[in-house]
């Protein structure tokens, strides 16, 4: 059976920049960070008080994990004009949620949250667990299921509720979280910058609707981008840090390129993982330079976590949504808070202002804790754009 083409026909995003994909995109183009000091964290007395909070759903809502996910899913379904009963569901609800109420912890199982979200979908219903690479892997797995004829359409993405003392103290112990940045908490997360000191944890959800291009065209659905390649790999190196030579990341990107039958010089832009950890950014930059070879000085690279924080299971899909927007518009947003590129992080970074490059084909990558890596390649659907004209 020949492989089917796969289109993105719906997207939904809740992030620190707002409750819609439009707010996410506009915030990035404006070089604005949604990371801020969170008063309830200040009140709790912990040392890390900045984060990317989703304002649209109350922090007091103990159904916050479910609510954030569901809003993104609904927005994506509405945009694609698809019903859940026609779709598979490939999703990551991330880690269990430990929210606080007056009596202490309210433990919410990620698995139960997934089961509740997934029950209205026809199937396949797969819960992805790949740490920070989950969102990207969810899209990749959905792409593969549709491409190989095992599903006609899928909702793919992820959601996370991380801004709790439980996770902030836990991640602080791993020395990967940026502590407060004096009077300007929005500057806490500085991807690829020489003053980078880790990421800002964030809540968030991102959902995409993937379906066959043929089906999308028959329905007259808007096609935002095509997914044309997916690759994954494991570092097999260390639980807490990537290999210095970026080998795991490089392998995963090369697999995505091979899957898309593209050469590296056909990549127009990169949406980087860019966590702003010292070793993570270094390894990623090394991997990208190796893959892009002679083009690494001219392929624009942008990361989103300076603006929205690190939303773990949602991170990869929120970044894929940004990549899809780049495919549609040709514009690469800036890496918010990147001012002076750190030694070893040299790439063609987009700094302070968006760059209109006419980019059509975008690589979006995620590298997870434990060494799980995922990469997808999206491209502009030119036929749809021609028809719109």
């Amino acid at each position: 059976m020949s492989k089917r083409r796969v289109a993105i026909t719906g997207m939904g995003a809740l992030s620190a920049l707002g409750a819609t994909t439009r707010e996410l995109w506009d915030g990035l183009l404006a070089n604005r960070s949604g990371v801020q000091r969170v008063q309830r964290l200040v009140d709790s007395g912990i040392t890390v008080t900045t984060g990317g909070e989703v304002q649209a759903v109350s922090a007091q809502n103990v159904d916050r994990d479910h609510e954030i996910a569901n809003r993104a899913i609904e927005d994506a379904l509405i945009e694609s004009k698809r019903d859940a009963t026609e779709c598979g569901f490939i999703w990551s609800t991330g880690l269990d949620t430990f929210q606080m109420d007056a009596n202490g912890f309210v433990h919410r199982s990620a698995g139960v949250c997934f089961s509740n979200l997934s029950s209205r979908f026809s199937g396949p219903r797969r819960m992805i667990a790949a740490a920070c690479a989950s969102g990207t892997q969810a899209i990749g797995e959905a792409f593969r299921l549709i491409q190989n004829g095992r599903a006609e359409a899928c909702v793919a993405g992820g959601s996370s509720v991380m801004l709790t003392p439980f996770y902030l103290i836990g991640f602080a112990g791993l020395q990967v979280v940026a502590v407060d940045n004096g009077s300007d908490p929005a500057m806490a997360c500085r991807p690829f910058d020489k003053r980078r000191k880790g990421f800002a944890l964030a809540d968030g959800a991102g959902a995409t609707v993937l379906e066959t291009l043929e089906g999308a065209r028959k329905r007259g659905a808007d096609v935002f981008a095509e997914v044309i390649g997916f690759g994954m790999s494991q570092d097999g190196f260390d639980l807490n840090r990537p290999c210095d030579d970026g080998a795991g990341a490089e392998l995963c990107i090369r697999r995505a390129l091979a899957d898309a039958q593209l050469s590296a010089d056909e990549i127009d832009a990169v949406n980087a993982h860019a966590t702003a950890t010292y070793s993570g950014d270094l390894a990623e930059a090394v991997a990208l330079r190796k893959v892009l070879v002679n083009n690494w000085r001219t392929v624009p690279v942008s990361g989103s976590k300076g603006a929205i924080g690190h939303a773990m299971a949602a991170a990869g899909v929120l970044e894929a949504i940004v990549a899809a927007k780049t495919c549609v518009t040709g514009i690469v947003p800036p890496t918010v808070n990147l001012d002076q590129v750190g030694e070893g992080c040299e790439l063609d970074h987009v700094i302070r202002e968006p760059r209109d490059t006419g980019a059509e084909t975008v690589l979006s990558v995620s590298f997870g804790m434990g060494g799980q890596n995922a990469a997808i390649i999206l491209t502009r659907h030119k036929e749809a754009q021609e028809e719109q004209k």
């Binding site: 007395g45 797969r126 097999g236």
Partner: protein, 240 residues
């Protein structure tokens, strides 16, 4: 064609400590589900042709965490009540106990495995998604060997009892080690039969499935408690 080559079920750590000290050194800082999953995986990978290139599909526990992690959670609660959270530190080892892909990553590190990997989360019925993913990889001609592993515990708060299961599959026909006969995984089919009484557990369903195979079962209808509650699952095998 997908052939079942070897399986292992682990429920006790003392025997791992005694019989496999090298393995124990690798897994001792992990939580119970991960320890048991890795112990089971280690056993079946002795039958693998190349552990570094086998695809790995790993199920996260439905009851994640550990006794230590929950104890620490109570410390956080007390710290909030007394306003002393600022002084709290978390042991990074306990942070690992919350990580959903820990078994997958730990396996990859131990075996220098960079192959296809899929971490499935701790929701009810994901074991059968794992089995479907194995079939898909082989049918697409993508794999020569694949490992499916799972570990879980009855209650994370005490970490007293758990179960680890591993299954090794191959594209090449070889006798299944437990039966001495060839076991071919033909298909995993689903129906729309919803079920109640689901008991989320990453490993129990696979262990029951393995028992049925060892009894010679060729068409295994997954009991409702081991499904996701949304669809019924039947696994078809050929034993020769």
């Amino acid at each position: 064609m997908v052939f079942l080559i070897a399986t292992a079920v682990k429920s006790e750590l003392p025997s791992v400590r005694e019989s496999a000290p090298d393995l124990w050194r690798r897994v001792r800082r992990y939580n119970l589900p991960v320890q048991l999953a890795l112990a089971a995986a280690d056993e079946v990978m002795r039958f693998a042709e190349d552990t570094s290139i086998a695809a790995v599909i790993s199920l996260a526990p439905c009851q994640p965490g550990s006794e230590d992690l929950y104890r620490w959670g109570n410390v956080v609660t007390a710290g909030m009540a007394s306003g002393s959270l600022g002084n709290l530190r978390m042991n990074p080892t306990q942070t690992l106990h919350a990580v959903d892909n820990l078994a997958l990553s730990a396996f990859a590190i131990a075996h220098r495995n960079h192959a296809y990997c899929l971490g499935l989360g701790g929701a009810a019925g994901q074991a059968w998604c794992g089995l479907e993913a194995v079939c898909e990889r082989f049918e697409a001609g993508e794999e020569n060997e694949a490992l499916l592993m799972a570990g879980d515990q009855d209650a994370a708060e005490d970490g007293a009892r758990g179960l680890g299961v591993a299954l090794l599959f191959s594209a090449r026909a070889r006798p299944y080690s437990s039966l001495g006969r060839t076991v071919c995984l033909r298909s995993v089919t689903r129906n729309t039969q919803r079920a109640s009484g689901v008991v989320p557990h990453a490993a129990n369903g696979l262990a029951a499935f393995l028992s049925a195979i060892n009894d010679g079962c060729k068409s295994y209808a997954v009991p409702p408690e081991h499904t996701d509650g949304v669809s019924g699952v039947t696994i078809n095998l050929e034993i020769s």
